[in-house]
Symmetry: C2
Subunit: 342 residues, 2 copies
Amino acid sequence: MVARRRPTMKDVAEHANVSISTVSYVVNGSGPVAPERRNRVLDAIRLLDYSPNESARSLKRRSASTVAMVIPDLTNQFFAMVAEGVQRAASAVDVLVVLVVPDATEVPEENYAKLLRSQRVDGVIYLSGTGSMPAAIYDLARSGPVVLVDEQIPGRDLPAIVCDSRRGAREVAAHVLAQGHRKLAVIGGPPALWTAQQRLAGYREAFAGAGIDPDEVPVYAGDYRQESGFTAATRILSGPADKRPTALICANDLMAIGATECLKANGLSVPEDMSIVGFDDQPISSLLTPRLTSVRQPAHDMGFRAAKVLFDLLEGKDGHVADQLPAIVQIRDSVCPPREDS
Amino acid sequence: MVARRRPTMKDVAEHANVSISTVSYVVNGSGPVAPERRNRVLDAIRLLDYSPNESARSLKRRSASTVAMVIPDLTNQFFAMVAEGVQRAASAVDVLVVLVVPDATEVPEENYAKLLRSQRVDGVIYLSGTGSMPAAIYDLARSGPVVLVDEQIPGRDLPAIVCDSRRGAREVAAHVLAQGHRKLAVIGGPPALWTAQQRLAGYREAFAGAGIDPDEVPVYAGDYRQESGFTAATRILSGPADKRPTALICANDLMAIGATECLKANGLSVPEDMSIVGFDDQPISSLLTPRLTSVRQPAHDMGFRAAKVLFDLLEGKDGHVADQLPAIVQIRDSVCPPREDS
DNA sequence: GGCTACTATAGAAACGAATCAAGCACCTTC
DNA sequence: GAAGGTGCTTGATTCGTTTCTATAGTAGCC
């Protein structure tokens, strides 16, 4: 049970009676080797159970074949699905994905950039989260390639994979309006985040399209967490009952769930007393009662593409990202026409 | 925008007019350095924005300060929570966690062990999944330290962090029995998995305790996925109506959810027509209608401890794991007494 | 003042793999 | 038969650290 030294190229070379360089050429296919010797090397590799030391490789090649993925919250299924997409793309090219969860990390801000500078990772996939930290992103992007997912930063144009959030938002809102709702309220995301802005803009377009002055519709800023949906709903219910909205438009599912909880806790039923829509279409959303009407983003695909773009970037293939992925409304049971008397 | 060469210890040494070794001593605090020179070095480091090349370090130190975490399914919130716990423990000691999702990985089996052998990671935290692959685990454990989470392998005694699943299972089942149910069915996990065996054993203990012959209670084997819960429930409903169970005991929440969906789809209501319990207590389970009665496992803590044990192992501190964590029944709304006539 | 006993420092040899430049066969071709 | 290829092979160097060993400098002690 002694932890014996792992075999190195030198061992393989001796076993096969060739030079170290030859072994290297065989392993990487990077040089000409006569068939007979190649087989001798291959045999020795198998016999010794050799695999190349990746630290040494990284050192020599100046690349770690590893990328970091910054995820604000793993228990949010949207992020989890993006992560799986990233993982799929990465494993296909034998790149490792290291997980970074800011909330579970000591001094996160400083650390991201350090990760890149110390060359432990070659690049970063950044899912923007419940808060915002644009400063940290700039820092990051100065130290190495960064691809954003579902986020865009106005000034700097960092590569990003995004959805047509605005359109999706416009369409859910239009769906709500089509049911006859005229008194609405929005529970938005963190105003600093691009997605929050886009979704809000989409909602407002729909309002305007239905002849409602967007500025008349109250917007409560949440942080994409369930609890903030609950809080916002509480505030909404605290207003005078006759001015109460008949539909709640939430910028993500988690907040929609929180808001629903609040309504239920106050004896209101969804959608009869108040309609609700979300955004993201997490798998759980279709399991709730009522099944939540939401906007589906192709999370898995977004992660996959983000990873691809990052890899292109790492290979110097200035991989520009032009297209947005579609966001598709999923109509379910959480919206119905408003009561006659409201 | 030219990618300038990152500064090395040599650069720092020249800037500070000291030798490379001195810089190394300062960076690692591993040797005596006069205060005045130490400051010169520190200044140079700041000035050049130096951070040590981790590949070179790993090579020299023979350790990557990185561990792998094998997770069968990220969208399962239980796993996600374990992952966050692992991440928290790792970031505290500056260890990187690389994500491995077998389903999203090409030729996963071979790759795990290779990961260890190539010294890209120092150890592995293994969450056993929807299927089983004991062979792969043995392979792994031969190449380096492995810590299991919520799993145990009979023959080999690999370090593992587990819950008292059996007790938790016994207690939920007892709760169901206490409501007066006598006709039951179990939807179990993959029979090869330790957790599935433990939970089933716990259920049977409870049955026996209530004077029911455990062998009379039918067990349907699922795979811990939602769909298998649905399938099992379909089979259960296809039997003669008078022999139909009044309560369904599911070995995890996802399958309980699937089963619930099936019942609803067949016009049955939960818990009035059939009671249901799960296991794991995922956050979403308390949001469903009815709120699912389940057994909570301290997922976050399990991940955290598993990581700690692995780190101890890596430091040679043969960290034995004796204690099991508790699993606590969460009583909610998915269980009620059976109808009189059944 | 010569001896040990330190301390702080510098030098140099690893760690394991990639790769450039050079060498050595062997074969054309005139 | 010499000049010039072509195709394999190898030795040596390099990547950026860590760390062992040697050395210079200072102090302590009789």
